[in-house]
Subunit: 271 residues, 2 copies
């Protein structure tokens, strides 16, 4: 199994921490940090880091693709170009191998199976840059948006914010994952409809342990309480993890091949 | 007493809420909200809203100057121009009245006495746009930076973030308020040195009441605890309020006249 997961979002939204929380280990040290006096003047390159993790007894080769510097400049025009280019390049490389490879050979798959898109929990709605980038990314890959650092929202604010953002998704007709598709059977369609109510998942990440009721869990300890990322009444991290690593892992990989790659391939072969 | 307070920061950092918390009343409804499908395509105009508040038995005419749209675009080049223009225009208008008014008349003072600059609690450091804008604003007005929504930081993260940001302030030699100045006596210099250790104040704002130990306070109620904005072990809001409204109100008004306006005036009269 090879799963290629790209993370997109402004620096400081907890992307690195969330990846570590998802895969329960120190996979990455935080990129995007600069020394004082070293302003981020150009977008650093896209980085791909490989790991082997074991989830549910299954060994998974995990590639985390980080997109440092996204949205961090004064002028963010075209800051999405390196990102869309990377996604298309993987399709392009796969197509080239497909056209030249022997029939039975298993081709290494570097295509981006899922883009985790981090939304800042402003309490108002999507930012203009989010809308531009989501439009571009949803055309070429499976995009799963999450509300970053959702512990900074009260339950009421979270609900209101999520509804606003869901309305904006609908208004811009963004094709977020999972897509409505006849390829899914009735059970799957029902399950997807249920999941869609949650999206964007309101997540909290932590690479620190806290003790809650005698149990050690990932959490954040503040002066007024302890956020337990494993607690579904605190945040939706458990739903995201189950969605990404259990229930929809296979489908994310398959739809990338059968939907996004196919669309790319047809375009290329017609051109 | 007329106090002109400008707030600068990306939308969604709790500026409106903090103003309401500072002045314990519903002064403003949140600006910067757009309907779904109405992307913020141009920077809305600077808005000035007047209020009369009573603080410590003193009636204060308070002008809150909002700078909607700052830093919210895809391309934020020059998004600070309307802000610096507004500040300079007030100096310019005051100079014009000063040159034409009769000696004894009290001139209405619309000069910006304090700019509250909101820093996003990313956990990393200042954003490139923050550094550019802080450099420009500190040249022409009293700037007091705050760490917005500081309840999204653990105590350890808050301390580390504050130290990073303080180092960046020093590295860029930003002239933040209060300035080191021979005009202050020894007691005031000592007090300022103490205050400077806190800046940027890590604030939390709330326009909702919560009950803590039988007392009604402004706070945020989450599933894992209640943030009490009045509690100095939760955040530094009480220090900011005391600083802005009690201990340094007079000095903010005076230094604007004697330092920033004087600098502006000399430049104009020499030119
Ligand atoms: N409040 C809150 N803080 C978080 C969360 N996840 C990470 N952080 C903190 O936010 C800061 C930046 O996190 P990081 O993972 O480096 O963000 P990145 O720049 O997007 O990769 C660190 O201080 C983290 O401890 C979260 O879910 N909630
Ligand atoms: N976590 C947290 N949320 C806050 C704080 N202050 C305001 N908010 C919430 O953040 C959202 C945006 O606040 P608002 O004052 O409108 O921000 P503005 O756009 O900067 O004026 C609202 O949902 C507020 O309730 C705070 O100190 N901490």
């Amino acid at each position: 199994f090879q799963f290629n997961l790209m993370v997109v979002g402004q620096s400081g939204l907890g992307k690195t921490t969330l990846i570590n929380t998802l895969f329960a280990s120190q996979l990455a040290s935080s990129s995007g940090r600069t020394e004082a006096g070293e302003p981020i003047t150009k977008t650093p390159d896209i980085k791909c880091v490989s790991h082997v993790v074991e989830e549910n007894g299954v060994r998974l080769k995990l590639n985390i693709i980080d997109t440092p510097g996204y949205g961090d400049q004064v002028n963010n025009e075209k800051c999405w170009d390196p990102i869309t280019k990377y996604i298309k390049d993987q399709h392009s490389q796969y197509l080239r191998k497909e056209l030249t490879a022997q029939r039975e050979k298993h081709l290494p798959d570097t295509r981006v199976h899922c883009v985790l898109f981090f939304i800042q929990p402003t309490g108002h709605g999507l930012k203009p840059i989010d809308i531009v980038v989501l439009k571009k990314l949803t055309e070429i890959a499976n995009v799963v948006p999450v509300i970053a650092k959702s512990d900074s929202l009260t339950l009421a604010e979270r609900q209101a914010f999520k509804e606003t953002v869901q309305m904006e998704f609908a208004h811009h007709r963004l094709k977020l994952y999972p897509l409505d598709s006849a390829d899914y059977d009735e059970d799957e369609q029902y399950q997807n409809a249920q999941i869609k109510q949650f999206i964007p998942f309101a997540v909290v990440g932590s690479d620190k342990n806290v003790v809650v009721k005698g149990k050690t869990v990932r959490g954040r300890k503040t002066r007024w309480g302890v956020v337990n990322v494993e607690d579904e009444t605190h945040c939706e991290f458990p739903y995201l993890r189950n969605f990404l690593i259990c229930s929809h892992l296979q489908d994310l990989i398959e739809t990338t091949a059968h939907v996004h790659y196919e669309a790319f391939r047809s375009k290329q072969l017609l051109a």
